[in-house]
Symmetry: C2
Subunit: 212 residues, 2 copies
Amino acid sequence: MGKTRFNVSLSLDGYMAGPDQSEENPLGIGGMQLHEWLFDLEAWRSSHGESGGVVDASTPVVEELESGYGAVVMGRNMFGPTRGEWGVDPWRGWWGDNPPYHTPVFVLTHHGRETLEMEGGTSFHFVTDGVASALDQATAAADGRDVLIAGGASVIRQCLAAGVIQEFWLSIVPLFLGSGERPFDGLSVLPSLELIDVVSAPKATHVKYSVR
Amino acid sequence: MGKTRFNVSLSLDGYMAGPDQSEENPLGIGGMQLHEWLFDLEAWRSSHGESGGVVDASTPVVEELESGYGAVVMGRNMFGPTRGEWGVDPWRGWWGDNPPYHTPVFVLTHHGRETLEMEGGTSFHFVTDGVASALDQATAAADGRDVLIAGGASVIRQCLAAGVIQEFWLSIVPLFLGSGERPFDGLSVLPSLELIDVVSAPKATHVKYSVR
């Protein structure tokens, strides 16, 4: 049986994305800075269709994060910047024709839509009956591998409150964002945690926790 | 010339103290948990008049935090749970007759009061004309050693906004508090940071940042 897990890059003031998400600012204003530690890494670039890049202490963390899962759950705002009905030329994700997931991805939305088959094994399934249903479908699809909760903040918060998370990595980034989306704001349940790993890298401090 | 610095133990949801501070709960409800990594340490116990204790990876961090400063600045709520006028039998701090500071401590308050001389070299000076004045007085008193900003959240926030902090340690504790005091909430200025050290200890992850 796989784990249900997530990972987020967090500013010191606790934000995983900036405010005012838009097509120009997928991670909200200033949010891209939270992922700068990733963009130069060969491990990240190769899984996003780019060549070159560096190897540093973050590499094994990224390799762990990007492997071992068999399905993904994400919120609609993580899937795209559009809201409401999908319309005649609906949004197909931020990631081009070959998204980096290569598994079924269950997108939480209030607006139903046909499954979207992409290249490379990624398919987007639109789930309108809530996070528990999305988790059930993802667990079945993962077939014993992990279920990755990709975000955003609201989905992570709901999954923590529902007690389904077994493990998560925080990548703590040395900056203040000032505003945006906090995954750990207004938690209705406070899970007990255990510190299980720390990796000190040049541009982020990665800390892994398990939920007891 | 010494540095102006602070250090806080922070929950994953960004709190350095719980809500509803009182004489029974100096760090707010649940806040004491944030410091559990400290209480067993010989380095902490010896500076608080207790014998015994353990040595672990946190020890050099505590030794660094507790040495090298020549003056302290703190807010009134860190000094005690009373509010308003000091009254006829005024509060003398949480720390007994021999507080662990052994230097002048400048307490920000709206209510003036005579300087309080304690045992072991600690003196409490009550500053009614604002944080800039307290910092000036502390810098003069420190005489080339560091100025320690002891807290609470509001004083740390004001000092970050004023651009006077050169360095800080976060001790990131594996728990969620759910509510309380966040030092990095509503920052009016967002200082640029550099990650300078990480110490992985059993019950906390210590990360040191400098402000550019």
